[in-house]
Amino acid sequence: MSTLLKYTLRIADNSLILGQRMAEWCSKGPTLEEDIAMSNIALDLFGQANGFLEYASKIDGQKTADDLAFKRDASNFYNFCLVEVENGHFGNTMIRSLLFDTFYLLFYKELSKSQDENLSALAFKSLKEIKYHFRHSQNWIIRLGDGTKESNKKVQESLNNLWKYTDEFFEIDNVDQIMIDQKIGVNTSLLKKEWTEIIESTINEAKLIKPSTIKMITGGRDGKHSNKLSSLLKEMQYLPRKYPNAKW
């Protein structure tokens, strides 16, 4: 697999898997308005996934975007471990979103300056959407953190639980290094400072406590996933796998 293909798939897979998770909220939101907001976010994420997968398909030269989405095994998915984590309660979903959105806001901002025109155009388009997602999750975390005792406790627990997935955002491996050297990719290790500042100020305002550093979980970007991803994919890929010759 080419380095550019893997780099592109990593981006696409984050949107696709998180989109799938957000779509699970459909008809289950705490209010009707919130149901609609979460569907909106899921739709944005699927749109982003589609864009990056179309580009990946062009790089690949054979597989279509749908092939890439529906006919790859878990070990060939390169999303962050964080985005495959199950929704849990609404506050848990919003913590997951806040951690991810904050990072992706910074990431897309940098990627929109990529020398690769396709990636920069896709990032530029996605940036507008992720700004809204970020505001949405940040607002909720402030309200839930500074809401009732119960809501504070719930989101604090989620924050503690999900913190271990955040180091993966800033890892630089061979693929990243090559892309950085070609001025295509983003040096995410440089985003950690700003990410931490935004997260710290948000959790301060939300009257939450920053979790202490714990053992981090990574590996998603190399296809090492929990069995949660296999279950997610089993459902998502069920029809195209069962009827390989069908067009839908």
């Binding site: 799938q20 779509a23 699970e24 459909c26 008809s27 289950k28 939101g29 705490p30 209010t31 009707l32 308005e33 919130e34 149901d35 609609i36 569907s39 909106n40 899921a42 739709l43 699927f46 749109g47 996934a49 589609n50 997968l53 975007a65 749908d66 989405a69 529906f70 309660h89 609404f90 506050g91 402030i142 309200r143 839930l144 500074d146 809401g147 009732t148 119960e150 809501s151 719930k154 459902e235 998502m236 069920y238 029809l239 195209p240 009827y243 010759n245 069908a246 067009k247 839908w248």
Partner: protein, 305 residues
Amino acid sequence: MSEKLFQEKIDSEKKIEPKDWMPEKYRQHLIRQISQHAHSEIIGMQPEGQWINRAPSLRAKMILLAKVQDEAGHGLYLYSACETLGISRKELINQLHEERAKYSSIFNYPTLNWADMGAIGWLVDGAAIVNQVSLQRTSYGPYSRGMIKICKEESFHQRQGYEIMAEMANGTKEQKAMAQDALNRFWWPSIMMFGPHDADSPRTGNAMKWKIKRQTNDELRQSFIDKTVPQAQVIGLTIPDPDLKWNEQRGHYDFGEIDWKEFWNVVNGNGPCNKERLDHHKRAHNEGRWVREAAKVYAEKNKLN
């Protein structure tokens, strides 16, 4: 204003607005009808929502999710229209949970294969459009305007559903079988959506007089059938009614007798999914309580500051 003046206003095709005087029975009729419509949009999210994560292509996934989201928007819009009659959304949801309010029985049927997404869009949204186009001329202003807005989206849904059906009817043997199976299961429940025969529909009298309803159940049902039969023929699917036949004299399709026992059975709570649908709605509502409470407390705290 008296009932006589009210009726004169209705007869001269003027819209009734929230602040206008209206007979209590008119108001009650509207609350029942609009809330039932709103609940239907919301409960109707479930049978299709269950397939978003199993949609077979990225495009199909986005279309379906956007569709279900539209239905949520319709529900929201209709709850607001209902609130103009002096009842809160909270109370409307209570009525739903306590089974004092109903929603369309069509959503008490399960969705068993992907072609059901086609059948629902084509038939269920199709039937809804026939009803709602007629309701665009309803006498209550907010309801009428709601219908005008909603109808545009419903016709998208109908076309997208028909597209899924057409694709599958012309697809592999298995896909065609799924499409026919979906049509077999959804046909009769769809034509039951228009409700009992006019002769057995006690409230139609007032509703027609007040121009809440503009066409009777049987008229609407006939127009849906006339519109839909040729669409089935075009894609080579068979409507599961041996008595279905074009009647040259009437200029309409004749069709077989509806199984009203089945209809009342589902209306009265014994359909395949009644409990599941309501339980799902209650569960989501209960699980979201702490979130709504937190948002409320936060808003109050920040008002004081």
